[in-house]
């Protein structure tokens, strides 16, 4: 898994990236009550705001971690946003995307670097 400084994780699944937020981010957010997902087919650039997560107190964004195209979104989160708190690095992934510039992946942190980043 790769990690961003925005507390997202990326997992390679047959060349596509599955993207979610880290356990650390989910704890900071508190109880998630609403998730607004992007549309499949949206072409995104790194750092575009593509997902809105609302917790009890505030709204926050998830940024596109790399350039690419959204290929699938996790509709389960629409009806069950609390899953983000229960299983942020498992079932509660947000979207899958293709990567148009693989070199951008090399700039991301590995698990050890991320743990150091949040320590």
């Amino acid at each position: 898994m790769k990690f961003t400084e925005e507390h997202e994780w990326l997992r390679d699944e047959d060349g596509e990236m599955v993207v979610g937020i880290t356990v650390h981010a989910a704890e900071q957010l508190g109880d998630v009550v609403f998730v607004e997902l992007p549309e499949v087919g949206t072409v995104v650039s790194k750092d575009d705001e593509i997902v809105v997560i609302e917790s009890v107190k505030a709204a926050s964004d998830i940024l596109a971690p790399v350039d690419g195209e959204i290929t699938e979104v996790n509709e389960m989160l629409v009806d069950n946003p609390g899953k983000v708190n229960d299983d942020p690095q498992g079932e509660a992934w947000f979207f899958k995307m293709t990567v148009s510039d693989p070199s951008q992946l090399e700039e991301l942190m590995d698990e050890a670097a991320y743990q150091k980043f949040i320590a």
Partner: protein, 370 residues
């Protein structure tokens, strides 16, 4: 945060694992490890204990009850003179334009008036009272007392467990109690829509009392996060958001808190700042707003009459997720012709118009002990 003031319960909050945030000049607990949603639900189903010591406690005393009450009526549109001994009322300071300078609770304790005001406004409130009332009335800030709220269906058992007299108090009664040997002033009130008490205690005894209350069945510490969602579901105004110096009591839907005797035609009508405008039928009104779907509509969201209208008919003043309602809830101002319950409107969230309906307040029925 180092410049923020501490309440007498600061060390206990930290010990209990609270996340502390700056609020109105104080370091206050926004949530404990239970989390905002858990704390909200706990208060609705059992009992929540809140530190509200940042609020201002002030006593007004003078030659007689009549002298104090009549003096206070020059600052508020409430019936103060008619307040019975041991009773409390909700009120507000108005300004010359009829706007609300602060909202407050006032209680009669013998010949004295105990006034509780918001933390952010207390300096201005005390200056206002001193300028208008002294020297005939003595204004004393009680900065050596803490204030604790115990709220929820389990509040009576928890407080009456320490002094059985607490169970005999009715909504908005005030009384002197002795909670496990600690002398306190208690009122049967709060700001969550639940039955409960607000307890004023000497700062030096606050921590011991809170530990004793937390040891009672079902009592858990609750932070500002859940306090906000509870009061929003209860349809209660947050000063500086739902009401402020630019909103009148009539616009704020607070005419229920202006007794007949102080209204036009009443025996003691007028005589407070902005009396000519504060109570006049307004062009806009505070309403409950129930967004369709799951997206919360927060403070600042513009409200439109239809999906394509260019000019808003109002805006949200506080909104978020209501854990008891199980969905988004909001309050805001809309023009009076759009203010009837059931009116279909649109709120613009992140550039998208979403349907929202004018709804009756409160969103969650009050659970007061009448």
């Amino acid at each position: 945060m180092s410049d923020d003031l501490h309440t007498p319960l600061y060390d206990l909050h930290v010990e209990l694992g609270a996340k502390m945030v700056p609020f109105a000049g104080y370091a206050m607990p926004v949530q404990y490890p239970m989390g905002v949603m858990g704390e909200h639900n706990h208060t609705r189903s059992a009992a929540g204990l809140f530190d509200v010591s940042h609020m201002g406690q002030v006593t007004l005393s003078g030659a007689s009850w009549e002298a104090v009450a009549q003096a206070f009526e020059t600052l508020v549109p409430q019936d103060v003179l008619g307040l019975g001994d041991g009773r409390q009322r909700y009120g507000f300071f108005t300004n010359d334009a009829g706007g609300i300078e602060d909202d407050l609770m006032f209680a009669r304790r013998g010949d004295d008036l105990l006034v509780v005001v918001n933390a952010a406004c207390k300096g201005a409130d005390i200056a206002r009272m001193r300028a208008a009332l002294e020297p005939a009335v003595t204004v004393t800030e009680l900065d050596d007392r803490a204030l604790i709220a115990v709220q929820g269906p389990g509040a009576e058992a928890a407080v009456a467990g320490l002094d059985t007299r607490a169970a005999r108090m009715r909504f908005m009664d005030v009384a002197d109690l002795e909670l496990d040997g600690v002398a306190v002033w208690a009122s049967r009130s709060g700001y969550t829509g639940e039955d409960g008490y607000e307890i004023s205690v000497a700062a030096t005894e606050a921590e011991a009392l809170v530990r004793r209350l937390l040891a009672q069945d079902g009592v858990a510490p609750i932070g500002l996060g859940a306090r906000d969602s509870l009061r929003l579901e209860a349809g209660l105004c947050l000063y500086g958001h739902d009401i402020d110096t630019t909103t009148t009591p009539a616009e704020g839907g607070l005419m229920w808190a202006v007794q007949k005797v102080r209204r036009a035609g009443g025996d003691r009508a007028g005589g407070f700042p902005g009396a000519g405008t504060a109570l006049v039928t307004p062009a806009r009104k505070r309403v409950g707003l129930l967004p369709e779907g799951r997206a919360p509509m927060r403070e600042g969201v513009a409200i439109y009459a239809d999906e394509t209208a260019t000019d808003p008919v109002g805006h949200v003043t506080s909104g978020g997720f209501g854990p008891t309602v199980g969905g988004p809830v909001a309050m805001g101002y809309v023009s009076v012709d759009q203010a009837s319950v059931g009116t279909a409107l649109w709120g613009e969230v992140r550039g998208k118009r979403m349907p929202v309906q004018v709804a009756a307040l409160p969103f969650v029925p009050a659970n007061f002990k009448r």
